[in-house]
């Protein structure tokens, strides 16, 4: 007996036909197929599409100090643009910091996020909604829930929605978020990145000014010429730093790809939902008839 005879290909085809006409070629299957489409349409109505918005950044390269040498000042300048390994960490810390959330808050982003864009509302008086379980917990444990949104909520929003990835051994940084409103997300992400970068510069300027003030006080009382020269060099260096930082150029990073939105939403996958529901409904119908016809064998 050869393989084909052993396999009984004719018999199997007739069994397959039998299966098709008994369980697949049925009106109920068509009805359920249509029902699955209706169900999928209904389901999709309750989902909000989400677009993927991302920006690719690159760490600013170290620039070499040019011009006349002025001892300690040159050293100070180099320290501004060196330590690249910490650039992404510092940028990330700033991105998710309260200070940046507060700046974004003051710019009015809270109105966009929490008050539906109603600019007539006072940003410090936007009512905060709480879930029933939160209210019950606060009632039972006796603590107060906050009535209004604050920059801390915006900080939480940024931490929850925005992500920053830097691939191992790479200098590119990807900052991304998902949102239903593309134009809002594009502007928000752009503003957030620029503010996080600007904040680092402002902090360094303030730091340099504080050093200058302190050093100048020391210089006034200093009697030793060597110490006075060193203090003067430090002041020079800090002024140079301020001069380098006081411009509109990016400090930590610059854009390779400015914020960009995906053309299609990354969620929901409509095709997969339609297909999955169709399969579930159709197979349920087939299995219903199959089990009904084979119930004596099954139990």
């Amino acid at each position: 007996m050869n393989f084909l005879q052993k396999f009984d290909i004719k018999g199997k085809i007739s069994l397959l036909k039998e299966f098709f006409y008994d369980y697949v070629w049925k009106k109920s299957l068509l009805n359920l197929g249509i029902a699955s489409i209706v169900f999928s349409l209904g389901y999709i109505q309750f989902t909000t599409p989400q677009f993927y918005i991302s920006a690719t950044l690159r760490e600013s390269q170290a620039s070499t100090a040019q011009g006349p040498s002025f001892g300690g000042g040159a050293k100070a300048l180099l320290s501004v643009t060196s330590s690249e390994s910490n650039i992404s960490d510092e940028f990330k810390s700033n991105l998710f910091s309260y200070a940046i959330a507060q700046r974004m808050w003051e710019k009015g982003w809270a109105t966009q996020i929490y008050a539906g864009g109603d600019e007539s509302k006072d940003i410090n008086k936007i009512d905060k909604s709480h879930t029933i379980s939160d209210r019950i917990s606060s009632f039972l444990l006796g603590y107060e829930l906050y009535d209004y949104y604050s920059p801390h909520d915006l900080q939480g929003f940024i931490a929850g929605k925005v992500s920053m990835d830097k691939r191992f051994n790479a200098t590119n940084i990807t900052v991304s978020m998902r949102a239903a409103d593309q134009s809002f997300a594009l502007n928000f992400l752009n503003d957030l990145i620029l503010d996080a970068d600007k904040y680092a510069k402002e902090y360094l300027i303030l730091k340099s000014q504080a050093i200058i003030d302190g050093t100048q006080k020391q210089l006034v009382v200093s009697r030793n010429s060597a110490i006075a020269a060193s203090l003067a060099a430090t002041i020079n260096g800090e002024y140079l730093k301020i001069a380098t930082l006081e411009n509109d150029m990016p400090y930590h990073i610059y854009f390779i790809d400015p914020p960009y939105s995906s053309e299609y939403p990354v969620y929901p996958d409509t095709f997969a939902i339609f297909l999955s529901n169709l399969i579930i409904f159709i197979v349920s119908s087939i299995m219903f008839h199959f089990i009904r016809d084979n119930k004596n064998n099954l139990w």
Binding site: L15, F19, S54, T56, R167, V266, L275, V283, M287, N297
Partner: protein, 410 residues
Amino acid sequence: MVNRFFEHHDYGGSLEYYIFELANYSFLVLLISIFYKLRFININSFIVWSGIFFLPLLFNYFIFSPFLYPDQFQYAIEVMSLKTYGISTWNIAAQEATFPIVENLLSISTHPITFTVSLLGLAPIPNYMTVTSLAFANKFFLFFSFLALKNFFKNENILLLFFLIPSFLLYTSISLRETLVILFGIFFLLNMLRDNYLVSLALIFPLLIIKIQLFAFFAVYFIGRLIFRAHKNFYALIIYSSCILLTGFIFEEMILQVVNYYRIGFAAEDMDMGNGIYGYYAFALYGDAESLTLHSMFELILVAIIGLPKILLMPLPNTWTNIFYPIQFLESIFLVSLYSWIAVKNNLLRNQEFIYLSFVLVLSLMLYSLLAFNEGTFVRYRFSLFLPFIFAIYYLANLNQADSSKNKIK
């Protein structure tokens, strides 16, 4: 755009997750209904497989968090990336692990994750949308392996019982490579027992990529059987083991270097000093590499022999940290008992083929015992090594029974 890599959307345990995976389950149930109708499987198999197919839906998110086996996400994201853009995720692509077959035309990935998902991705299930989808692909291949194994074992119901071993159910219900590893192992050994050397050779090559240590163990079995005929004659086995020992002493330095490297690596990975100090960092601060280093082949053999009972029975009660551990401990005892019971019941103890199989199994377990610092990982490794040998000796028992029946008739 610079950022061209696949962006994964994690559906978590949402309604969509269950819709997508229920569709995969429905597809597999339809498949077994057709196979039942075509009389490829009996009614018991139909019922049991309906249950087995349902398990992926129960495990991830329902019984435990998928982060209990976090590697699942790497496999899931890789298969989605390959199916969406045809390229690996950035961290895998960065490793550039490919092997050219035809210059500039055809190449295969030698990265274990890419290679595994390339094979599992061939399963024609409707969705590869979530972390659990590959588990259904695993089930698809498992079912077809069951059908193929019916060619080796006459009793379908007993064969079905092997597919109900708890760890087998667990590892084939999550998105890891263990299913492929176990199936390649089973078919390799069964084909070896049928003297199908070329088929066996083809079956162990994928293991070179997906589980190199298992490839090494099976290669030892392959060479011993093909060249030394160690399955025929006890003296041939002694000669073969002497050769292995001699090779061990000749390449002592190199072997010790490799074993110590992995031994320290596994120990470091498992180290946890608390307060967030764990892994290699903890080992760099507090680890004692010298106490783990093996200095001679004698010491290696001694430590391996001492560690053998532990690897056979792990996870031992002093290491239990979750509900699976006691179950796996009891299962370890059950599997060792099953192995012994099959051998005793079918008079295999003097069967040279059985002796040779057991020799390779013990040798492999001894090597594992040198590295077994992480309980969870090595329980899994041990299982994927042990199960193919159980199938093999059960097949041997069937052959033995058939021979006995023939002799009685004569």
